[in-house]
Each structure stands twice: as structure tokens, then as C-alpha cells.
């Protein structure tokens, strides 16, 4: 991953951002941002145990605190770039530049025109534009029809292509007898438009959230989660040092870095069985239990907030970006709770009536300005009602609030937060030790602290990430100053994601936790779906049996994950009140979770770091 803050891309990005946010905004002062420790999670957000990001297996993206990651893997050959890493950036930049002027369809057509040149090298620009216009119209018109005809998962993509192609060819031939674009090119054009539309959809979500109070809260929690993950991984690796247990060809001894090839099923099971005593000890270790409880608590908070946010950002985005049938096809899958669905319907209707992109986005932003930390004793309906009242307000004479709260101040607030509790404070010490251990990391941290004094206004920075396949490789692209922009500039940072300061093992903790959560449910449908999603991605990394590993082999291990442990009330009793019985239960759960996580790590080897590992809300 590229260096985050000194990339030469930042300046042009900020220029684009200025265009995108030309509307006059009033800033929230950072002192208006409530400390995260005041957040008492609302109690009714968990609906039917479903993760919002995994509502029905067709989720295209995941949303985290600071960026949105598109899940579907696209073929980089459809773009006119040798440098596939730049594709995401180019398309997102195109969207950010145009959406406020051209609206959704206009933006898709224009970006398609700009990107489709290599598909139709012989055709004049006007013709390419016509192709893009025709195909975008068709996709908007036919999407509902195609999706209605069968479950998306079951439905053959090719059938969808055929319907588009038939209509497209018919339309084009009516316009010109000379139309002779080959079918495979038209298929690629469909993929290209689908990619642009997906990025636009996710960009819209991100744009709605960016800079709002809830957005900041998510950022705070997201960073806290990262620090907790680092602390927990560092602590666990002290006891379960896979470099010592499995060997230095598999993992480093001085750092939680998995570097080797995966183990075979029998070997992995033996290693796991041999470490049973260590796991038993960890299950009784007070600090390990506390650190694990923090991880569970972060997970809960982000999970609950994602539920609230989705009621506003999903239907409004559907109204702006998708076709007429999208809401009806998806509302039930997203909103299984009747209250949430009711509000989602209101939001959709309002957004549809308003029509204007900027107006809808601003109304959603206003709804997302509520302070969730004030709602500890109210229920979901109160929260949604207050948000909806904000959403409905006439905005003709009011500024939209958004915050310029910087990443630095979020991190500094977190330092204060960690400083308040001696056990939590030790996580800062774990990070310090990790920084001091490696000379290059030490040098980097010293430099980054002293040199980058400029504010990075993240509000206007497109931060949608996606993956493409290029020459058999999976290539990620992101626009986010905190995460790093994967471009053609060499990586300067001596570590990738922040978590890797303690070792790449930290990267698989969150996905393992989400999988463990889904596995703990009685109904394994969502678990299997998530496994399948991941398996599709891991295929590009040489792992073709992840489904077997995560379903059959895990079942053989007879891992007992008690889903009740995931509930906030349970966790808080241990975390805040040191409730002995509850802490013991969490300890037992910790052992089982570690068995799950470590087994997956042993079976994936170094690929474990490639599990979808963005921190924040929504996974997979």
C-alpha cells in the first residue's frame, strides 16, 4: 500500500475536492464532537442477527469509517490503462468531478465515454458516447427486469449480457446500418458501465457520510478498533508465537508476521491441538479477556451504527443512482425490521420527489448530524424519528453542517481516551515497542509526525476503493489519504496498513471475528455466503479451497461459539464492571475464537492478510 500522506496525488485531489464541495458549508468545531466513551450503544439495532453489509449475499461493497470498498472484482482489461492501479482513481475522480453538474446518468455516460476509448479504438468519440448513452439507458431500463427474473446469485451473468446485447444491437442498428461492434466488446462496455455505476453508488454513500457527526463517530470508533486490534494481536502473539510454534519459515518470531506457505489440513489440525494448553491459559488471562472484550465492543458499536446509517444512506442513494425497481427489490432484504423499513420508505420517497443530487445528499447529511451519544436510553424509533425530522427540514435557507475534524485530532482524542485506563494505556506501549523494534518504522514515524503539518480535508476526497484483476493479479486501488493511494509511485512506508506495525497477523483478526460471528448464528446461511464471497477473491491468490476450509474443516474442529457473547450488555459487564462470571464466559469464548482464527491463519499462510480487512463498519 502506498505511503499515505506524502503522495503527489494529494494536491490534485484537493483541487477536485474544492470543486466537489463548492457549496457553502458551516464547520462544526471539534469541541462539539462528543468523546466516544460517551457512546452507549442503542439496544435494538441488531435486527434478526443480520449484518447490514451482508443482507442478502449481493452486497457490492463494504463501508468502513473512512472509505468504502467495492467487493466485486472487475476485469482491468476493460480500461485503457496499462497501469491498472490507476483505474479506480481515474473513475472515482471522474465521478467526483461530474456528479454535481451532470447527475447520476449524465455522470455515468460521461465517465463511460472517457474510459471506453480502448474498447472501440476504431470508432469516433461521438459514436462511443452514443454507445455509452444507449447502454446506460438500457441498464437503467432493464436492470429491474433481469433481476426480477431470478435470484441474482443464481442468475447467469451471461443471460443478463444477452438481454442487454440484443436490445443494444437492435437500438444501434436502428440508428446506423454500419453498427458492427463485436459482442465481446459490448459485454466489456456493460462491465465498464456497471463498474462506474457501482463506484458512483458507493461514492454517494461515502459523500453523504463524510464530515457528519455520525461519520466522525465512525472514524473515531474505526481508529479505536485499529488500535485495539494492534493491542490484542501484540498481546496474543506474545503467547502464541507462530514463529516459535510452527517455525520461522511460517512466521517471524519477533513480529506477528505470517510469511510462509499454508499448512496442510492435517498439519494445521495437529498444531492447533498442540497449542491447547496455551489457549487454556489465554482464556484465563485477565488482560487478554479485557483486550478481546474491547474488540467485541468495537464490533458491536460499529455494527449498530451501520444499521442506523443504512436507513438514510441506502434508500436515498437508490433514489439517486439506481433505477425505479431497485428499492422494491432490495428494501425487504436490507430492512427486516418493520420500523427501519418504514423510515427507509419515507426516505426513499422524499429523495425521489426531491430528485436533485445535492439536495438529497445535504438532507441525508443533516440527518447524520445527530449526536448518537445522546441516545443511550432511547430506543431505535426515537433515533430514527429525530433523524427523519432533520432529513425532512426545508434546507432552502440553511447551511449544511459538516466537520473539518481532522484525522490528527481524532487520534489525539484517542490518546486521551487510552490514557484514562492503565490497561488500555498499555496498548500505546505495544505500538511504541513495535515502532522502536524496526529502524525504518521508527524513522518513518518520526518523520510523519514532524513533517506533515498541513490539514488534509478528507471531506472532498473520494475514498472509494475497488479491486481489479490484471494479468492474474488482484490489484487494489483507493483514494484516501489515510490509507494510501495505490498508484504508480513506489511505496515509501516501511509497513502497509497501520495494523502491520505489529505484524500482518493483525489484518486477519477483524475478518475472522466477523466470520466467527456469522458462524455463531444458528442459521449458517450468511456464514456460507460470506465464505463464498471471500473464496471468490482468494482464488486470485492461489487459494481454491477456502470454502472447504471455512465450512467443512471448521465444522470438524467442533468450535463452540456462543452468539450471546457478541451482545453488548454481556461485553460491557466484563469490560466495565469486571463481572467475574461474564469475564470467564468471554474467556471461554476467546479460546474458541482463537481456535477459529488461528486455524484459518494456519491454513491460509501468508494469504491470511488478504482477507477483507478494512476496519470500520460493514464487512465482506
Amino acid at each position: 500500500m502506498a505511503n499515505s500522506l506524502d503522495d503527489w496525488f494529494i494536491k490534485p485531489l484537493l483541487r477536485n475536492a474544492a470543486i466537489a464541495v463548492a457549496k457553502a458549508y458551516r464547520y462544526i468545531k471539534r469541541i462539539d464532537v462528543t468523546p466516544i466513551e460517551k457512546l452507549k450503544a442503542p439496544s435494538r439495532i441488531r435486527v434478526n442477527n443480520k449484518l447490514i453489509g451482508l443482507y442478502a449475499g449481493e452486497a457490492k461493497a463494504v463501508m468502513t469509517g473512512r472509505f468504502i470498498n467495492v467487493l466485486e472484482v472487475y476485469d482491468a482489461r476493460i480500461f485503457p490503462y496499462k497501469n491498472a492501479e490507476k483505474i479506480n482513481a481515474e473513475v472515482t475522480k471522474c465521478i467526483a468531478d461530474l456528479i454535481h453538474k451532470l447527475g447520476s446518468k449524465g455522470t455515468i455516460i460521461e465517465c463511460c465515454k472517457r474510459m471506453a476509448g480502448s474498447l472501440f479504438e476504431q470508432e469516433p468519440k461521438e459514436t462511443i458516447e452514443e454507445y455509452c448513452r444507449q447502454m446506460t439507458d438500457l441498464i437503467y431500463k432493464l436492470d429491474g427486469k433481469i433481476n426480477y427474473e431470478g435470484d441474482v446469485e443464481e442468475y447467469s451473468k451471461k443471460t443478463g449480457y444477452s438481454i442487454y446485447l440484443t436490445e443494444f444491437e437492435k437500438n444501434m442498428k436502428e440508428r446506423s446500418e454500419s453498427f458492427n461492434a463485436p459482442s465481446d466488446r459490448v459485454y466489456q462496455l456493460i462491465d465498464l458501465i456497471d463498474y462506474i455505476q457501482t463506484l458512483l453508488h458507493e461514492y454517494t454513500h461515502w459523500y453523504m457520510l463524510a464530515g457528519t457527526k455520525i461519520g466522525i463517530l465512525i472514524s473515531q470508533l474505526s481508529w479505536r478498533e485499529r488500535i485495539d486490534v494492534i493491542g490484542f494481536t501484540g498481546l496474543i502473539y506474545d503467547k502464541i508465537n507462530l514463529g516459535k510454534i510452527v517455525g520461522e519459515q511460517f512466521a517471524k518470531k519477533d513480529k506477528a508476521d505470517i510469511i510462509g506457505e499454508r499448512l496442510k489440513e492435517g498439519e494445521a489440525k495437529k498444531v492447533l491441538a498442540d497449542m491447547n494448553k496455551l489457549l487454556d491459559e489465554l482464556a484465563k488471562d485477565r488482560k487478554a479477556i479485557k483486550y478481546f472484550s474491547s474488540i467485541l465492543s468495537d464490533f458491536n458499536h460499529l455494527y449498530e451504527i451501520s444499521g442506523i446509517v443504512s436507513v438514510f444512506i441506502e434508500p436515498s442513494t437508490w433514489a439517486l443512482v439506481e433505477n425505479e425497481t431497485y428499492f422494491h427489490r432490495n428494501a425487504d432484504k436490507y430492512f427486516t425490521d418493520p420500523t427501519m423499513k418504514e423510515y427507509a420508505e419515507y426516505v426513499y420517497k422524499f429523495s425521489k420527489d426531491l430528485g436533485d443530487y445535492e439536495k438529497v445528499v445535504n438532507r441525508v447529511k443533516r440527518a447524520l448530524q445527530i449526536d448518537l451519544t445522546q441516545y443511550s436510553n432511547k430506543d431505535l424509533n426515537d433515533i430514527l424519528n429525530d433523524m427523519f425530522e432533520k432529513f425532512k427540514e426545508d434546507d432552502s435557507n440553511s447551511d449544511v453542517l459538516f466537520s473539518n475534524v481532522s484525522l490528527r485530532s481524532i487520534l489525539m482524542d484517542l490518546i486521551i481516551y487510552y490514557g484514562k485506563n492503565p490497561l488500555e494505556k498499555e496498548k500505546i506501549d505495544i505500538i511504541t515497542s513495535a515502532v522502536m523494534r524496526d529502524e525504518e518504522t521508527l524513522k518513518y514515524v518520526l518523520k510523519i509526525m514532524s513533517r506533515y503539518k498541513g490539514e488534509l480535508n478528507r471531506h472532498g476526497l473520494p475514498s472509494v476503493c475497488s479491486d481489479l484483476v490484471y494479468e492474474g493479479r488482484l490489484i487494489g486501488g483507493c483514494f484516501n489519504p489515510d490509507v494510501g493511494i495505490t498508484g504508480d509511485k513506489p511505496v515509501k512506508r516501511p509497513f502497509g496498513s497501520l495494523e502491520e506495525i505489529v505484524g500482518n497477523l493483525a489484518l486477519s483478526l477483524k475478518p475472522a471475528l466477523i466470520l466467527a460471528y456469522l458462524y455463531s448464528l444458528d442459521d449458517k446461511t450468511d456464514y456460507k455466503r460470506a465464505v463464498q464471497k471471500i473464496a471468490e477473491r482468494l482464488k486470485y491468490l492461489g487459494i481454491d479451497d477456502f470454502t472447504k476450509i471455512a465450512i467443512d474443516e471448521i465444522e470438524d474442529l467442533k468450535i463452540q461459539l456462543n452468539k450471546e457473547i457478541f451482545y453488548n450488555t454481556t461485553i460491557e459487564k466484563c469490560l466495565n464492571n469486571d463481572d467475574k462470571v461474564i469475564c470467564e464466559k468471554i474467556g471461554e469464548f476467546l479460546k474458541e475464537f482463537l481456535r477459529y482464527w488461528i486455524y484459518i491463519v494456519l491454513r491460509l499462510g501468508r494469504v491470511q492478510e488478504m482477507l477483507p480487512n478494512r476496519h470500520g463498519i460493514f464487512l465482506f
Binding site: M412, L442, K447
Partner: protein, 181 residues
């Protein structure tokens, strides 16, 4: 004229600082002499001031500090009590920038804050460390608006780790590589 001279303890450098503060206090440029430092500074600074000045009733001492931020935090308590509105900070010359920034952080814009730097001979590590800390003074701006306890909590949390990192970087010769020496 100032309402108070505030002299900061500084380990081995305390002596030079208190000498200058006593000289200025005896000249009558301030009503009060406030000494903030560590426990060791009771003998080195406070007792010395009591011995070498006439108006000893207006000399105040706090020995709870272990950092510049602590100096500002504890000095503020005395400053508030005495209703002081203008101060002259006396510290080492190399330390002036950070000392002023620290006091500004706690006292805000309503106070007149000046400083005078004493020429002394800190060791190389102290100088390099100070130069680095000056480089990251911009971080203080992010703490504006926070209450005193939170500001102190931030620095209490970060001081140990930061000192360790700087010390390690010094041992590895990285401070020079950073181009801040």
C-alpha cells in the same frame, strides 16, 4: 513590567534559570516570582530564591512537574489564584519556543506571555530532542479548546512513548538523518 516571573525547573539547567529569575525579580520587574519544577527544585531553586531575594512573601513554588506541560499546568493554578494577567517565563534559550507554546495552550489569549532565554550548555541529546519537539509543536493546536485535565492527560500518555522513541532514534543516529539537527 509583568505581574509575575515564572521560572521553569530543568534538572541540571535549573541553576542558571533561577539565577536569571532572581536577578530580574530583584530588579523589580514583576510582583511575583513563581517557581515550577520537580521535587529536586525545592532546594535548588526555591530555597535559593528565598535566600537571595528580599520580598520572599511573593515567591511561590510548585514541585509536581516532570515536563514543560506540567510546568504550565501547575503554574496556571498559582497564576489563577494570584489573579496574574501577564507573565515573563524564564527558561533556557533552547527551550523558549516550547515553553511559550505550552503556556499559551493552558492560558489562552487573555494573558500576556513573554519569555527570556538563558544561555546554557545542554548536552547534545537534549538539544536534538528539543529541536524535534519544536518540530511537532503544531500538534498543540489540535488540543485548543480542551480542558486542562484532558490536555495534561494527553501529554501524560504520550510523554513516555515519545521519549522512548526519540531516545532510540538518537541511539541509532537517526535524528541526524531526519534533517532536524
Amino acid at each position: 513590567m509583568y505581574d509575575a516571573i515564572v521560572v521553569l525547573g530543568g534538572g541540571e539547567l535549573s541553576e542558571g534559570r533561577i539565577n536569571e529569575a532572581i536577578r530580574l525579580y530583584n530588579q523589580g520587574i514583576a510582583k511575583y516570582l513563581i517557581i515550577v519544577g520537580g521535587k529536586d527544585d525545592y532546594e535548588k531553586m526555591y530555597k535559593k530564591a528565598l535566600r537571595e531575594t528580599k520580598n520572599i512573601n511573593n515567591i511561590y513554588f510548585d514541585g509536581n512537574s516532570s515536563s514543560t506541560i506540567d510546568n504550565a499546568y501547575y503554574a496556571k493554578k498559582i497564576i489563577r489564584k494570584l489573579n496574574v494577567r501577564s507573565i515573563l517565563i524564564v527558561t533556557s534559550k533552547f527551550h523558549v519556543k516550547r515553553a511559550v507554546k505550552s503556556f499559551e495552550l493552558f492560558l489562552g489569549n487573555e494573558y500576556k506571555i513573554d519569555a527570556i532565554g538563558v544561555e546554557d550548555n545542554p548536552d547534545t541529546f537534549t538539544l536534538l530532542k528539543e529541536k524535534y519537539l519544536d518540530e511537532i509543536l503544531y500538534l498543540y493546536d489540535y488540543l485548543k479548546g480542551k480542558d486542562d485535565e484532558e490536555i495534561k492527560a494527553f501529554f501524560d500518555t504520550i510523554r513516555g512513548p515519545l521519549n522512548k522513541i526519540i531516545k532510540r532514534a538518537y541511539e541509532l543516529g537517526l535524528m541526524e538523518d531526519l534533517g532536524i539537527d
